[in-house]
């Protein structure tokens, strides 16, 4: 395949990945890595590099819309980014020593676990009581609804911080945004409303990925000619997604989210075990 055709096909994949990534808060990486590695036969290190960069584009592109919408919680984001960036540096360093097949299997496992968790309906956030720590950290906030701004309280910041460290490590190890885990840490553990969780997660993804980017670039994972169509495809895709989000229904979002990550997870594990990496 010549470079022109390959570039056009990868660009199309980037558009689809950006749309899905921004709608679900995933960050696009979960589609980019399997797409490049499984469909185009790209070496996993190049796939990780292209994915990580596209994750930053998705995050920044969509977040520029979200912050104006008023969904993101800056204090929650910034505090938990301490955990995600430390995790990311550890995870990205691991990619330089681990065999590709192991990275592929961990990738699949992370996806399937996220799919399992999201397929179980969340508890209502109505009964959430803030604990002393979150009150001290002033993490409570409001978000827009059709009936006007709605206030919410958060809890268990320590549990959220712990899971965010894991999310950061997986982000650095797998070149993904770890949006699924970030959303779970906020939505489930910290009791943050789902839309606030997805948009705050999307905001955090870029900073987390930037912590891995230096390590990826320094090791040559970021192949410019390959990353170029991915990033240029992901950008319009994620912009479109961020426009649809305020109108999208949560149930539909969760279903897309679950099915997509489940299918990709199975495929990655299968290929990891059959030695295709």
């Amino acid at each position: 395949m010549n470079a022109l055709l390959l570039t056009v096909l990868i660009w199309c994949g980037g558009v689809a990945a950006g749309l899905l990534g921004s709608l679900t808060g995933l960050g696009g990486g979960v589609v980019i890595v399997p797409l490049l590695a499984l469909v185009f036969g790209v070496d996993i290190h190049y796939a990780l590099g292209a994915s990580l960069i596209s994750v930053i584009a998705t995050s920044s592109g969509a977040a520029s819309a979200y912050v104006r919408e008023g969904y993101s919680n800056m204090r929650i984001a910034m505090f938990l980014e301490i955990a995600t960036t430390i995790g990311a540096v550890i995870g990205a360093s691991l990619t330089t020593v681990l065999p590709p097949a192991i990275i592929a299997v961990v990738f699949g496992g992370a996806l399937i676990y996220s799919a399992y968790l999201t397929s179980h309906p969340p508890k209502s956030t109505a009964g959430c009581v803030p604990d002393r720590l979150t009150a001290k950290l002033r993490m409570n906030g409001t978000y827009p609804t059709p009936e006007g701004p709605k206030a919410y309280d958060v809890r268990n910041v320590a549990g959220g911080f712990g899971l965010m460290t894991v999310a950061g490590a997986l982000s650095g190890l797998l070149g993904i945004g770890s949006g699924a885990l970030k959303v779970l840490a906020m939505d489930r553990i910290m009791c943050v409303p789902f839309k606030v969780s997805t948009t705050t997660s999307n905001f955090m993804i870029g900073v987390t990925a930037a912590a891995s980017a230096g390590i990826y670039m320094g090791n040559g994972y970021v192949e410019p000619a390959l990353v170029m169509p991915v990033v240029l495809g992901v950008l319009p895709g994620s912009m479109l997604g961020s426009r649809i989000l305020p109108k999208a229904q949560l149930k539909v979002l969760r279903t897309i989210f679950t099915l997509a990550i489940l299918a990709l997870g199975i495929e990655m594990i299968y290929n990891g075990f059959t030695g295709r990496f």
């Binding site: 470079a3 022109l4 570039t7 930053i56 584009a57 520029s64 008023g70 800056m74 040559g220 240029l232």
Partner: protein, 129 residues
């Protein structure tokens, strides 16, 4: 600080951050696109090989190398310059957040944000090590 004043500052912060992110992403996209067009104009009918990882690559892995190549109108160098702008966008957002929290005299979050910035700069400047 009064609740409504804090909310107002939060909104200002959000607006500034939103603009920063958008300008950074746009600038990055334009530079990457320029480099991409140059790459395709020169290499459209070559067959790139991404199947195996090349430890000795044709593109630079260091900041001075990338700037040098971009100035020499290397398509790879220009694309990489655009990607650097993209990576810098979230970093710049963290820098803005430090300033914004400092204006609010929110010491706790100034410290939290400085820790995040320190980790980011550590990674970016010691990357290959």
């Amino acid at each position: 600080m009064a609740q409504d004043k804090r909310a107002e500052l939060d909104r200002t912060l959000a607006t500034v951050l939103g603009h920063t992110l958008r300008i950074g992403v746009m600038a990055s996209a334009v530079i990457v696109l320029a480099g991409g067009i140059l790459y395709l104009a020169r290499n459209a009918f070559t067959s790139p090989d991404y199947r195996t990882f090349h430890t000795a690559s044709t593109y630079s892995r260091t900041l001075p190398g990338i700037f040098e190549n971009a100035l020499a109108f290397s398509s790879y160098g220009i694309i990489q310059l655009g990607l650097l702008v993209l990576v810098a966008t979230p970093v710049l957002r963290v820098v803005f957040s430090v300033i914004a929290f400092a204006i609010e005299r929110d010491i706790l979050y100034v410290v939290a944000t400085l820790i995040v910035l320190g980790i980011l700069l550590y990674s970016l400047f010691t990357g290959g090590v």
